[in-house]
């Protein structure tokens, strides 16, 4: 191991087919890719040939963290899980899921930057990593169990300070819409079945080591405090959602929902969140209550506290205690989750008797949290529920199911918004039972194909939220104009990029955002007012590129792209500026590898480029512009018939999108005609070997 700090120094390799376990040096092979998705893409490029299927033993599943994981850096708890994505339609391509919790830190403390799994075990196993002791154990006794009991069983063997990541029955049954769950509620969507195909039930990690920081202790502490001083609330919203004495601005949609008198009602003692002045960094954890944000003010009463990842003060997984659900549904009164995981249950229903934020909705959420996380079902950013609602109400489900199967569901309960309906539906998805359960578990693209429904038509309806390749849009053009569109084109699942939307939703007025945008992306025209979009501008392409590079850097360093970047801050005295160099400052001090912002951005660009190369190789075509970077029809449609770029219109114009793509490809050094990176660009980022391999298949523009 070199003298670098940050990295643990070893990548653990496990071949389930042979039982062989070995380690490689992280720095030698992966330093230029940082960690996380960077390592994931590199392994996939080097070791998984085109044409490999997600469930093939040759496929890899790469659990990787970055040099900042497990350190004192705020929001460093992200574990990237990279593999061939089973729900990517029509051809599975590389993608990654990102889970929080404590797994990333524990892996580092055990001495590893990544675990690469290959092969297929001859019978169910689980992987034990207890510092340097790494063993495969028979998992037959826990195969078939939910993630909760499997986790408990492994923790009983390894000890209470173990972190377990486990799949549920959905993953075991090779349901593509399945997750891996750790730390109760943290999930990596889409990868459960890949583990199931390898007969790998779980990974248990106990790590007792530490991480060396290369820089001086005083500098490190100062930098951490500086980072903390720039933190806002969840998603880096930097103003509160109601007027507060300290705040110049407020935004009712901000996730900074602390206020004097708002209490964690189910806490053991009285906890008032208070006004949470941004200069009081000891109260950051009180700023956001995601349950109250997503489920309504009713949730305050049932809030125990915020939970979250290693070293993250935001605590976005709200722990709820709802006693009524135990008697009614036989599930634990306590549960936790965040974002779409919180309302996994209620989102299935079009109507709930007391509205989307009433008590029955809250109970449906609790049922959803427990069932989905225990069975290990993925919602694909809510696409599962949106698909289900549409398929039911447009009569498709009735048409596609035989009469017996259709009658086996209590549709009256469903239409009444009765959470008990979820006990009928979700286990059948996890068990691939019947036509409905099986089809819903496939993911949107494969479901539509199985039922003979037109994917393009699905994408023409804005209400479906569908984007392309089996996945939904994730912070797209209706709220972020051309930048949102460009970000949503790049990946082989939903974009999972929050860089742009965290900035646009930060709660600052447009003039302030434009001032910051001019500093960050060279012109105030990078951002538009909500619903007041203007034609494409080069600064928008720069913002989109920045958003993607920040995402790749975060996913590779183990920072949370749901909380960052920290381009804005809640500090009035700084003109609400954040710091766009935080990532490079943290990286440099942690590792000792001196990189300024431009240097580190270049690494982020290399990682993004490798993802693009993997996509091109996987698809067997360089025609990315016309075959991959596809825009659903709803983006161009306006129900009112208004012209684009008028106030109140959120749709875009086709010619302008062409211009947007041209500018974006130019920014990245990709060929305008095809959207494929040029040889010059591969060379610029040290990927000559990648270019050479692609050239042999005519996949690099001439």
């Amino acid at each position: 191991m070199s003298g670098y700090g940050g990295w643990a120094g070893k990548v653990l390799r496990v071949d389930l087919s042979t039982g062989r376990i070995w380690a490689e040096d992280t720095i030698e092979r992966y330093r230029d890719y940082l960690g996380g998705t960077g390592i994931g893409y590199k392994v996939m490029w080097d070791e998984v040939p085109a044409g490999t299927k997600p469930y093939d033993p040759e496929n890899r599943i790469v659990f990787a963290v970055g040099p900042l994981a497990g350190t004192g850096v705020p929001c460093n708890g992200r574990m990237a899980v990279t593999t061939l994505w089973p729900t990517c339609w029509p051809v599975p391509l590389v993608a990654s899921g990102h889970m929080g919790g404590q797994l990333a830190a524990k892996l580092k403390y055990a001495g590893y930057d990544a675990v690469v799994i290959q092969g297929k075990a001859s019978r169910p196993v689980w992987l034990m990593i207890a510092d340097q002791k790494v063993e495969l154990h028979d998992a037959r006794r826990i195969w078939g169990q939910g993630t909760r009991s499997a986790t408990a069983a492994i923790a009983e063997i390894m000890g209470q300070d173990t972190v377990v990541a486990a799949i549920g029955p959905a993953g075991e049954n090779l349901v593509p819409m399945s997750v891996l769950i750790s730390s109760v509620s943290h999930s990596a969507g889409g990868v459960g079945a890949v583990m199931g195909a390898k007969n790998l039930k779980a990974i248990g990690v106990r790590g007792t080591g530490s991480i060396r920081i290369a820089g001086r202790k005083e500098d490190w502490e100062k930098l951490i405090k500086y980072h903390l001083s720039l933190l806002g609330a969840n998603n880096q919203h930097v103003v509160p959602n109601t007027p507060q004495p300290w705040a110049e601005f407020y935004d009712p949609k901000s996730r900074w929902n602390a206020a004097r008198g708002r209490r964690w009602g189910a806490a053991g003692h009285r906890v008032d969140t208070g006004t949470c002045d941004p200069r009081d960094t000891n109260r950051i954890a009180y700023r956001s209550n995601l349950a109250a944000f997503f489920l309504g003010d009713n949730a305050w009463k049932y809030t125990v506290r915020g939970n979250g990842c290693t070293s993250c003060p935001i605590r976005c997984h709200t722990l709820l205690k709802v006693p009524s659900v135990t008697a009614k549904y036989g599930i634990p009164a306590v549960g936790q989750n965040t974002c779409v995981g919180l309302y996994f249950g209620s989102a299935f229903f079009r109507k709930l008797p007391d509205g989307p934020r009433g008590m029955q909705s809250l109970e449906a959420c609790m049922v959803g949290i427990h069932l989905a996380d225990d069975l290990g079902i993925w919602c694909n950013y809510g696409q599962l529920q949106r698909d289900f609602r549409k398929l039911y109400y447009d009569g498709t489900i009735k048409r596609k199911l035989d009469a017996g199967e259709f009658a086996s569901y209590s549709w009256d309960k469903y239409e009444r918004g009765d959470p008990a309906f979820l006990f009928e539906l979700l286990p059948r998805i996890a068990g691939k039972e019947g036509e409905l359960g099986t089809s819903l578990g496939l993911g949107t693209g494969y479901l539509l194909a199985r039922w003979g429904l037109d994917e393009a038509a699905w994408g023409a309806e804005k209400e479906t939220g569908y984007w392309k390749m089996g996945h939904p849009r994730h912070h797209g053009p209706e709220e972020a104009g051309q930048c949102g569109l460009l970000v949503n084109l790049m990946y082989n699942r939903d974009a999972q990029c929050h860089s742009h939307t965290n900035f646009l939703r930060n709660g600052l007025p447009l003039p302030v955002q434009k001032q910051l945008a001019a500093e960050l992306w060279g012109a105030p025209e990078a951002v538009d007012g909500l619903g007041d979009y203007r034609p494409m501008h080069p600064a928008k392409a720069r913002m989109a590129k920045w958003a993607l590079l920040r995402k790749e850097l975060h996913d590779s360093l183990s920072l949370c792209n749901w909380m960052g970047p920290w381009a804005a801050s809640p500090l009035r005295e700084r003109g609400y500026r954040g710091d766009n160099s935080l990532e490079s400052m943290l990286y440099t001090l942690a590792t000792g590898d001196k990189k300024d912002r431009a240097d580190l951005d270049a690494v982020g660009e290399r990682i993004l480029l490798l993802h693009r190369a993997l996509t091109i190789r996987g698809m067997g075509t360089g025609e990315m512009r016309t075959r991959h970077d596809l825009v659903p029809a709803w983006v161009f449609a306006d129900p009112g018939g208004d012209r684009p770029y008028t106030k109140g219109a959120t749709h875009l114009e086709r010619d302008d999108v062409r211009v947007a793509l041209d500018m974006f490809y130019d920014e990245l050094g990709w060929d305008r005609a095809t959207g494929a990176p040029t040889r010059k660009t591969y060379r610029k980022f040290g990927l000559d070997d990648v270019a050479a391999a692609l050239s042999k298949q005519n996949l690099v523009p001439r």
């Binding site: 100062k222 001083s229 007027p243 004495p245 007012g529 009035r572 400052m585 106030k647 109140g648």
Partner: protein, 210 residues
Amino acid sequence: MNGAVWEAAGGPPVKVETSRETTAEGSDAWPAGAAAMIRARSAAGELCPEAEILNLLPEGPVAVPEMARRGGLGGEFLGRLLNENADLHRLCGAGSPCYYSDRHMTAAYSRLLLHKQEGPLRLIAETVRCYCREFRRPLALAVFAQAPFDLEQPVLREYLARMSQTEEYDDIAMVTTSEAGIYLYATSCLEHKHAEMLAEWLDVGQDRNP
């Protein structure tokens, strides 16, 4: 690393001053006591009425002009208070003048509290105008049920009905979303179609794009 930038980040957490020098003796001590009181009130999220400040004025050898004691628009001592304490500010609304400290309260919040003193209709109207001017977005009616507005949810619609019949509030308009959310906007800042789209996005669309 750029230490200067870190130092500029804001320093230690703000300490809330709660001491009140209400028994200050003499004209020299009085401004300090008054300033402390204003700061404490600001830290508690309240404006400090001028009358309360004047009540601190010392009786005795240093005579205070009766004009100042009555409030009026200032007076020698109130002027001195503001001159010597750059963080203190005076606000004049429909009622008695009030003071706040910008160490603990922003101008925006102080204006909101001032409008609150002017009655619910004016509070709603001025808040909507200010919000629309600043953000070019409509504001959810439900916001007014929250602190610091603290208007009773059941009477909010009644206030809206009264506003619709009052010429002074002609510029305040309303849109309703597909989930029955009510949003208000100022017609001088937003066109109706834009307000409709924004309200629908804020009330429904954004929650489906979390």
